[in-house]
Symmetry: C2
Subunit: 356 residues, 2 copies
Amino acid sequence: MKMYNFNSGPAILPAEVLQQAAEAVIDFNHIGLSILEIGHRTEWFVNVLEEARSLVKELMQLDDSYEVLYLQGGATQQFMQVPMNLLDEKATAAYCDNGIWGAKAIKEAKLFGNVHIACSSKDREHTYIPRELSVPQDSAYLHYTTNNTVEGTQWNFIPEANVPLVADMSSDIFSREMPFSKYSLIYAGAQKNAGAAGATIVVVKKDILGKVSRAIPSILNYSNHIEAKSLMNTPSVFAVYVSLLTLRWIKKEGGLPEMERRAQERADLFYDTLDSLDAFMGKVDKRDRSLMNATFTTQNPEHEKLFLDICKNNGMVGVKGYRTVGGLRVSMYNSLPLSSVQVLCDLMKDFNEKHG
Amino acid sequence: MKMYNFNSGPAILPAEVLQQAAEAVIDFNHIGLSILEIGHRTEWFVNVLEEARSLVKELMQLDDSYEVLYLQGGATQQFMQVPMNLLDEKATAAYCDNGIWGAKAIKEAKLFGNVHIACSSKDREHTYIPRELSVPQDSAYLHYTTNNTVEGTQWNFIPEANVPLVADMSSDIFSREMPFSKYSLIYAGAQKNAGAAGATIVVVKKDILGKVSRAIPSILNYSNHIEAKSLMNTPSVFAVYVSLLTLRWIKKEGGLPEMERRAQERADLFYDTLDSLDAFMGKVDKRDRSLMNATFTTQNPEHEKLFLDICKNNGMVGVKGYRTVGGLRVSMYNSLPLSSVQVLCDLMKDFNEKHG
């Protein structure tokens, strides 16, 4: 059965990336060794790492005031690593409270300094992106999550603040053009649009570092990783390689402008279908809908399980909402073909005719 | 050209593990999806993780007072995570200072509490394992590195101490039988005998936790990972799977007794050859020689490069010593065939005849 992968992450990857990754597990670049059994300080792997770091910069059009790191631990580790490196004990950082992941970041930041909530969408269960922000002028930084994977909202504008911007871009990195040079720090788990689980991309503007007074453990100090060119210790070698293959694919297909065009095309098809059917309804404000993760429900709550069964029987995975939130969700990352969305929309139309 | 992999880590893996891993990158268990694009909370991956955690326990013959975690960040992250979880600010931990990695662990521990050096082999460049230890009775724990990858020494006895034992077993885990239940905490990067880079195994006896007063960031708190059954956030999915495949292979081949027999056989062949040749000499005390990493030099320092070239021309990788130490080193992990050691020994004998 053909599978349609709407997983929220780890998520769909381009077929050619999977093919190349599988080949490298057997024989990397025809050297007679697997990518899994070569030293991380060999020229072989250093070339992989350097090309990946440089492609991140190129796709984001960043200059040499930025460094790109491949770390481990996922965005969850960044929730604590960011304030540990940037927020002094008596200083304040501003955080946007717009979803489950942002809330986790806020919780960790409070261990290191003061947190000011710049905006919150809690009053309506995070179904929208607030337009009004309050950011104290002495904030060490403003942190926000560009795309809320669980709730299905996405910032389609850059928050105004005269303080350094820090963003968790885990679920929409490399999916659209953005003025990345407006940010002082960007982080993302790779397992959505940037590769496979196990690699975490951190893009940091060097001038934001070295300003806190606490002693930072070596492995958690961004400056150490910069100095070591992201080879302070053994990195997640295979995950970095899959990220490189994914970045090469993005570039070859046309870069971020093309990724954005495809994302818009998929989202238009899906949301137009959704809005045209009585049997379903979206969960968030239309103007804040995510191009990556669409959350919705069946009009009749009892129909939800029925629709999920139909999806499953048609080879669709990942249509279920986040475990603590419920409802329905489809994730439409860079490598999801428009045709997969079309098949889903046809199923929805069919469902609407029978149960609408 | 046939390759002979003496890498120190990431290191050689069994050919069948590589084959199974490559197949899973294309199609995991015939489900029509890659291991790289399935959710980490699906039954598919949860089964992988649970089997791997349970195999670690089985191979180590540990009971349910222990928990096995698959974390990220390598042993280097454990250098700080261990004291953060186990060492209160005013308390003392005892550390053995027997090599580069142990020294790094000591450096990080000092950020969290007092460090007492239980023994040191610094006086002779870490070429031996001390027999005398001083361990304060109120130490929170005694930490040591069971095998010194860089220096080529290995503890072939368990240090006596009436305090909890903590061990970095990165380079000899699963290579020999040990009374693992004597330890309160064991950690190891997977990229030598336990899989590929990107996964870190932590085995923890639960009664050692919850005793420090500091606030521990969520992702660094072992208790949180235990509660979440090692699924607190997205793990390094593929690296965990490769670890599972490697553990299955170890079990199938005869478990730790058989791994130890093979290690001894390889080491005997290598060291007997080494000792019989004038052109080479070992670097460490004979009784403390590592079965995993053999360090040696050429009698004539000018011959080192020549021998390295010969190795390279014969398809051998990983024969060079650690970058900051120099000399020669061959790593002989679980899946290195005895025949590879034989080929190396033949080259050494040949070299001895020409240059001895």
